[in-house]
Symmetry: C2
Amino acid sequence: MANIKEIARIAGVSVTTVSRVLNNHPYVSESKRATVLQTIEQLHYARNMNAVHLSTGRTGTVAVILPYINLFYFSVVMDGLAHEALLAQYRLILCQSNYAPDEELKVLEMLRNKEIDGVVVVSTALLPEVIEEYMEYGPVVTCQDNGERRFSSVYIEHYAAFRHGLEYLKDKGYRKIGYCEGRQNGSSASIRQTAFQAFLAEHQLPFRQEWMVFDCMTEESGAAVARSLLPMEERPEVFMVTGDHVAAGLIIEARKHGLRIPEDIAVLGFDNQPIGRLLEISTIDNHLYDMGAAAFRIIHEQIRTGNRQPVYRKLDYEIIERGTV
Amino acid sequence: MANIKEIARIAGVSVTTVSRVLNNHPYVSESKRATVLQTIEQLHYARNMNAVHLSTGRTGTVAVILPYINLFYFSVVMDGLAHEALLAQYRLILCQSNYAPDEELKVLEMLRNKEIDGVVVVSTALLPEVIEEYMEYGPVVTCQDNGERRFSSVYIEHYAAFRHGLEYLKDKGYRKIGYCEGRQNGSSASIRQTAFQAFLAEHQLPFRQEWMVFDCMTEESGAAVARSLLPMEERPEVFMVTGDHVAAGLIIEARKHGLRIPEDIAVLGFDNQPIGRLLEISTIDNHLYDMGAAAFRIIHEQIRTGNRQPVYRKLDYEIIERGTV
């Protein structure tokens, strides 16, 4: 690799001299400067795109922050992002953060350091106030509803969507409603919890702690919810499950134990995943691919035009009726 | 954003002057040069990591080529890669190529241009000969068995693994064996086809074109295979399916039509996916997370040490016996 040492060796000068040439230091003889520059040229160093980026002020790169690439929700959003990035000839840096705030901050620091042209925050542990501090360094688009923040967002109205699902269940005659959620403290999860409890209170529907289950991220966690039903004295009639793969786990395991779907336990999923289509799971489709695609198009437009006026793009959602409600 | 125009405006000099300073051009007065450099400093331009990379010769970035992030196989490999990259404080550029060779070549060109320190090729449309041409520019690790190439690889012995599965089915008494494959012309797929046909010939097992189905990438394509069984005069007794999500589609749809698993149709899946665990699908586990993790560790070691001796890491595989064979 053409690094400073190699350039110095081939040009027959000291590392200090190469460093001085690279740093525009005046105390270098013109002949040495010429030799160093010629060597750099030979070593493709001059074609180094990092140097090109320095002169254009753009890197052709956008970073994406998300917690886990191997969850359906995030891999679909990433699919939408990556598809649009390819069309725009942009590169994506993927930061799979596991919700570690310091890792997420590092990506925002890359924006400050001009290593990237923008950041798409699909889901984050950082507060919006922290993200806002980086707005002066380049465009940021989030996939969360952050209200009227200075940065753009492409988002689902989680409150309205969740409430819509609850209305649907109530209209179907369900009164005992359970709820399986992912990360308890996630920003979307918090909104849904509020919607859930407000709706139950408003309609005087029963609430039981054991009908509300958190950390449901996997198929297996759905299966565990099904098993938890068995010894329960009073069971919910239906579960809202924020992920069709978790709903699939719940349904398959419930059937193994002789529970009928939807007669003994009904299930309303989220995300319209392929496994949900196969198992005919009723679901709320929130257009995740479109979320990724729209987020990239917005950030690309802001990079291209320099316009930083925030864009708020609200995505549609819809209930897909199948056999589990 | 601090680009040349902005620097020129703030420093009160022409764009040409800024450009001359950045390019080490001699015809700039020392006072102007000093002003420009000071302005750059103020604008954080001096902290630009691109400039840092120029001086260290490393970018802290590795690119990953894969066709579709939203397929279980690839999202798990990416999970392993991303987890190790985080530990090593490395960034990953994701190229979701859809198997477009020109997009994949662009990533290898980034290696030549020193924009990245290495490339992990999870799956590619490019010939190994093409990849080999880029070896001189930096380390490349593939997740395919490329034989004794000059670049490193972390791979499953697809021939042996597939044959192992076939032996297992034959020992169980199956004679009519079907096969659902993804991309017909994929390098691993080609190896499996060869293994399949050689095994059938060797053991004088029946072969029928309609028992070998390609382009099985999704749950729905598995369901279509199940439906194709219904009018078939002579059905296979078992299908080997190169993905548990496709096997899940086959099994769920087959059951809808009253076929019993494994009595009427047995299924051996691949990848040990969560949906396979739920549906108790017998499968061949080929340790995909480990593949990604090992690929990153190898490339990181090669970047760190400069050692380019190729490393060939063969991964284990194992049959997990469940209820569908």
